[in-house]
Every structure is written in structure tokens, then in C-alpha cells.
């Protein structure tokens, strides 16, 4: 069976899609959007459409909260740090390529 995959950023997720993919209710997402924990500024969560980056962040938030019974702000702080670590790792990788041992 051959299936054509769709790039999420070409066909953005609805609030219901995002919530279902994280196995949470749309209200769960909406509350965190309103609190700024998904790093998005939107006025209407229901009408907004969501990208791959927001799916990754929402899933991480959800896993941290669920696995550690963390409150949403603490989970967001952990995810912020995970994203920062990723960014710094990319930077190190870039610099490593230009470094030589002397």
C-alpha cells in the first residue's frame, strides 16, 4: 500500500488535530495558549492553525506535565531549556566543523 504523506506546514493543524495528537482536550491546549506557554500570540485558539514546531512543543509540554505531575509553567520552563539546548548543540556542531586540533 502506498500512501502520500502531507507536510504539516503545508496543511496546518486545527486546534482539534493538535489536541488529539497530544492526547489532550482542546481546552488543555487553549489554557496553555492563553498563558503563553506555547510561545504563540493568537487571539482565537479555535480559528488559529498550528505548525510542526507547535506540535513538538505541545507534545513535550504534555509529556513533562504527565510524567512528572509538573505544573504547566514548570513544564514550559523545562521545554524552553530543551529548545535552548538544541539550539546550542547546533551551534557547537557548526563550530566543531571549523575547528582543528593544534
Amino acid at each position: 500500500m502506498s500512501i502520500t504523506a502531507v507536510i504539516i506546514d503545508d496543511d496546518l493543524l486545527t486546534l482539534a488535530d493538535l489536541a488529539h495528537s497530544c492526547d489532550v482536550s482542546p481546552e488543555w491546549i487553549a489554557v496553555r495558549l492563553e498563558a503563553g506557554l506555547l510561545n504563540l500570540t493568537i487571539t482565537d485558539a479555535q480559528q488559529a492553525r498550528y505548525t510542526s514546531a507547535e506540535l513538538t512543543r505541545a507534545r513535550r509540554l504534555c509529556n513533562i506535565e504527565r510524567n512528572f505531575d509538573a505544573n504547566p509553567e514548570l513544564a514550559a520552563l523545562v521545554v524552553d531549556m530543551m529548545e535552548e539546548i538544541e539550539r546550542l548543540k547546533c551551534q557547537i556542531h557548526r563550530l566543531d566543523k571549523h575547528a582543528i586540533d593544534v
Binding site: 500500500m1 500512501i3 504539516i8 510524567n67
Partner: protein
Amino acid sequence: MEFQDYYKTLGVDKTASAEEIKKAYRKLARKYHPDVSKEADAEKMMKAVNEANEVLSDPEKRAAYDQVGQGYKSGQDFRAPPNWDGGFEFSGGNFNDSSDFFANLFGQAGKRSRGREQYQGRGEDKHAKIVIDLIDAYQGTTRNITLRAPELDATGHTVNKERTISVQIPKGVKTGQHIRLNGQGSPGFGGGTAGDLFLEVQFREDARFRVEERDVYQTVPVTPWEAALGGGIEVNTPSGAVQVKVPTNSQTGRKLRLKGRGIPSTTPGDLYLLLEVVLPPADSEAARKIYETMAHELAFNPRTGA
């Protein structure tokens, strides 16, 4: 099918309290969290730990598991007796890549849908990662992937069934992005639609290229005379061979931009060629002579900026 000792997985005693199980789970969840763990088999261990916690943190599932697992040891051959879960109230679970043991006992398809007879629901979405080459993002590609999902066998037991699907990955995808396969997640229940499968794309490490969003950086070795005198050179880029004009007096690190030749999209990225001047070795009399002539003829000292 092998018996899974969930107590052993979490490292707790069979008499452990709910609080002790929670503590043990959190400790291991931290240790094996795939985003931070340095353990080689972190992802596999995290799945096992999640599965054990799913059962042991639910009092009904734990009680049913304790009853059916009496006398069994980890890895021992196991077959659940008929109606093993009689008298217990729990709903089915579902994991990406759950063990056969979990699928057989607790898989959603095998549950007798307590309280769900009148309820229709969409199946869970599944998530996985897929590794492709950068060139696949330029051209699109097809990959065969194997999915495991719980299904009822002829005897009414739930087993993990494998199926392979061919996935056409469209061009223009970038690392970290998700692609979605409609209806390839867990089956729905009560006639509901199946969930979707989300694949997170990652590019295979390739020393020739570095990718930032849709921009691609490629190191291009050039000779000293190509760099100094300039001229046309042919470069094999991810989108094919291109003729590039090297500006005169180029140095290592000079960046040439090929607009729109990064990862394709409605607004495609750019391709940056990073020139790297490579000196021929002075390993012959002729080569040595040329370097000596340059040393005499060119008043050049890069350390004084002359």
C-alpha cells in the same frame, strides 16, 4: 510470548505502594527521557518504563496483572488464560511499539469495550521518527515503514500485527518537521475513524552539508589558482551540477549564495557555497620550486596583513 515483569522494569517490590511506584517511574522517566538521556537504549527503555507504569499505576490493571502473572518470571513463556481479566474494570491502552505482552493483555482491540459499546471514538494518533537524506528533501522519496498495531487473532486474543506501508515523502520537507499520514494511527472504536500517523523528519548526518531551516551550506574545495584568479568551476549540489563563477582573490570561508537552491518550497531556501582553498602538497621538485618562486616573488605575509 514473553512475560514482562513490570515490577522489575520499575525496580520496585511487588508490595510497593502507589507513591513508591510513582517515585520509581519519575526517576526512570528522567533517566531515560529521549530528549536528554545519554543512555544508548534510552528510547527503548523509556517505552518499557511507560508500559510498566501504565499498568502498575492503575489499581485495576495492576490487580489484574498481579493475578494473571502469579508464578511467572520475566522472559518466561506466557499465554493469558481465557477471561483472565474477569472482575476487573479498566479500559484498554495503546502504545507505539508496545510489547506483545502488553498488546495481548491490555491492547485496545482486545478489550471488551466496557462502557464503550455506545461510544464512538477516533483512534489515537501515533508518532515516530524517520531519517532521510538531504537530497530526498530536494526530490521527494519513497520509504517503506513497518507499523505494529494490536489486532484480534482467530482465537480472540490481541496480538501485535506488523504491516509494511510505502510512504511517499514529498519534496520540500525539512528537519524537525512532521509529515502526516491520514488514517495510519490506531484503529477507531465503535465505528470511529482511525487516528493519524505523524512522522518527525530528521536528515541523516552528512559531512558535506549543513542545514539551517531551508538554507543549505556546502563546503567547496578550490585550488589556490581558482581562488586567486577566479573563474568558472563545476559544483555538485543537492539539486545537481551547477557552474559557479569564483570571484578573483577569494579566500577560504568566502560565501557564495545561490538564491533559491536551498530546500524547495513556495519560498525556497538558498544554497551557500563555502569556499575552502586547498593547497597542493610540496611533494615533488616541481611543486617545491613553484612555492619557492612564490615565496621570493610575492611580498606576502598574512600575519602582518601585507
